[in-house]
């Protein structure tokens, strides 16, 4: 429980701290000591192994994830365009084969602004809550959200530009997202309007895909430009309340990415590709409190870290179903 609280605090913006020795299990301490003793001998070899892996690995999870985002969003598009009626509506609220679904954040905004909850909205809310409780919360972000995909492509350009020293990345304080979360909740309740909805690139993109292009896409384009030239993944990292809403759900989800410290080289490649690298602080040498640790709720279960890890130290795990190693 204490670890969940710590992880939620980290999600809300707290800087991850060094793990105090008394909180590290005996097994883990022994492992950390063993790695410390073996020193830097294997460093070069480990680096080599990582480079080879990066060049040869097929990015399995990324392929699956991109397919998922495209499939779900195109299902919305075709349901309307071809009238196949599988998934009607948009990402904010929809019907899947007739069953109500409502995006948790959009539904919360409506509840706060309207101060009345219709039964259909409640059904849609609970359905989606249970679904993401099972599937991992922020799984929504990386497996469904259309902005995530565009932002991921923007990120690729951003990283290239940084490598070529054309631009520099600028970090913001991660607490900003928590402030925005409170702000948009207060604004919805206070003004009676779902203000966040008007600037949410998720909703804007989803509607534009289904109902045709809008002027609002310029705002999305602006956000992407900022992410390319100024700050990597800024919207998802520092602003989007949808991510935080699903983050809270994910805290209680059995679907997690598990870190096993035994074979880890601690090269940090996973943290370099991660949207939310603070969830991977356990992978820093000497930090893991147990041999197996779950990543925090801010993790979007995107699998990028799994794709770059040559030692199989990171894996999807469904509590109760997958075996511990």
């Amino acid at each position: 429980m204490r670890i969940i609280k710590y992880c939620i605090n980290v999600m809300l913006g707290k800087r991850p701290a060094k793990t105090p020795p008394e909180k590290i299990s005996e097994e883990a301490q022994a492992l950390h000591q063993r790695k410390k003793d073996s020193g830097e001998i294997d460093k070069v070899k480990a680096r080599e192994e990582h480079e080879i892996y990066r060049e040869t690995h097929n990015k399995k999870w990324r392929k699956r994830r991109w397919f998922s985002i495209l499939f779900i969003n195109l299902l919305f598009v075709f349901s309307y365009a071809l009238d196949i009626q599988m998934l009607e509506g948009a990402l904010t609220a929809s019907r899947f084969l007739g069953f109500h679904m409502a995006d948790l954040n959009s539904a919360l905004q409506v509840m706060l602004a309207f101060k009345t909850v219709l039964i259909n909205l409640l059904i849609g809310f609970v359905t989606v809550l249970l679904m993401w409780l099972l599937l991992g919360g922020r799984t929504f972000c990386s497996w469904v959200c259309p902005y995530h995909l565009l932002s991921e492509w923007a990120e690729t350009i951003h990283i290239k530009l940084v490598e070529k020293k054309i631009i520099k990345n600028h970090l913001f304080n991660r607490k900003a997202r928590t402030w925005f979360y409170i702000l948009f909740a207060v604004l919805a309740f206070g003004t009676g309007y779902t203000i966040f909805e008007t600037i949410s690139p998720t909703g804007i993109l989803s509607r534009a895909l289904i109902y045709g292009p809008t002027v609002a896409l310029l705002w999305v384009l602006f956000l992407l430009t900022v992410e390319i030239f100024y700050s990597r993944r800024a919207w998802c990292r520092y602003v989007c309340p949808i991510g935080l809403t699903y983050g809270f759900v994910g805290a209680f989800s059995p679907m997690k990415v598990n870190y096993n410290a035994v074979n880890c080289h601690h090269e940090g490649d996973c943290r370099k590709v991660c949207l939310v690298p603070h969830v991977l602080e356990w992978t820093i040498k000497g930090r893991a409190p147990e041999l197996n640790v779950e990543l925090g709720p801010d993790c979007t279960r995107c699998g990028m870290c799994i794709d770059v890890c040559p030692t199989d130290s990171l894996n999807f795990r469904f509590k109760g179903l997958s075996k511990k190693r």
């Binding site: 009607e88 609220a93 109500h100 959009s106 259909n120 702000l183 309007y193 008007t198 609002a216 602003v239």
Partner: protein, 276 residues
Amino acid sequence: MSEHNSKKPQRLTRKERERREFLRTSALVAGITGFSLLQLVPTLSGAAPRLRPPGALDESEYLSSCIKCGQCVQVCPVEAVFLADMLDGQGQGAAYIDARNQACDFSCDGLQCVLACPTGALTHEINYSHETRMGLARLEQPGKCLAMQGEGFFGIARGEEYSGTLRFEEIDRWNPIPLNQHPFDLEVCDLCVRLCPIEIRRTQCDAGTPPSGDINQCPPKAAITLEKIEGEGSRVRYKPVVLEGCVGCGVCEMVCPTDEPAIVIDIRKQWPEDNV
């Protein structure tokens, strides 16, 4: 960053880095907050009102309860419903109807948009077309009205180019057809009365054949009628008179064959009670 002595930029101290991060973050919070508050301006400044789909709650409640999903758009058989863009402020993503372009003719019979609405922004408390109150029709330009000049109408109501559709039950009970495939030959132009969905239902009910065989579909009050005008000249002239049963669906505005519609919808206007 100070550039004294060395060519290389100095590595920032932790304190300096934190100060910059703080400033940057403050700018981010201010920027996003400012932009999101900007979205209130078109709404609070009372920009041009929109005709909302049947059952829409009062405007501010409608905007707060609408989840901007467009399920109402998807079910409309005449494709009358559209989602507004960013320039509508808080109305962005909320449904509206542009009556002149394509009005709601209730050809779904069951208020499909209301049934589709997951949040009750289109209230689930109404079931029939005559229970809606989107607005009231008004003869805005009597000088343009053909009936007022005693003129008939021959041809296609809105011209060949016009793509709007309406259901004509005598032609196809289930599918609306383009208005440009349905020419008229009228001695006196009465399109606004003849095509009024409320009046059509009343005629069906009077003939003992209510829509879907359901007498609940019968509108209790008339919506529009042509009244003979007494006056000089040989031509008989008529005036379209809007009645209490008008729901503001906008079909009259849509079909009015003059270049600008002689009859328009006053959005959200209610029948004055003292006039009853």
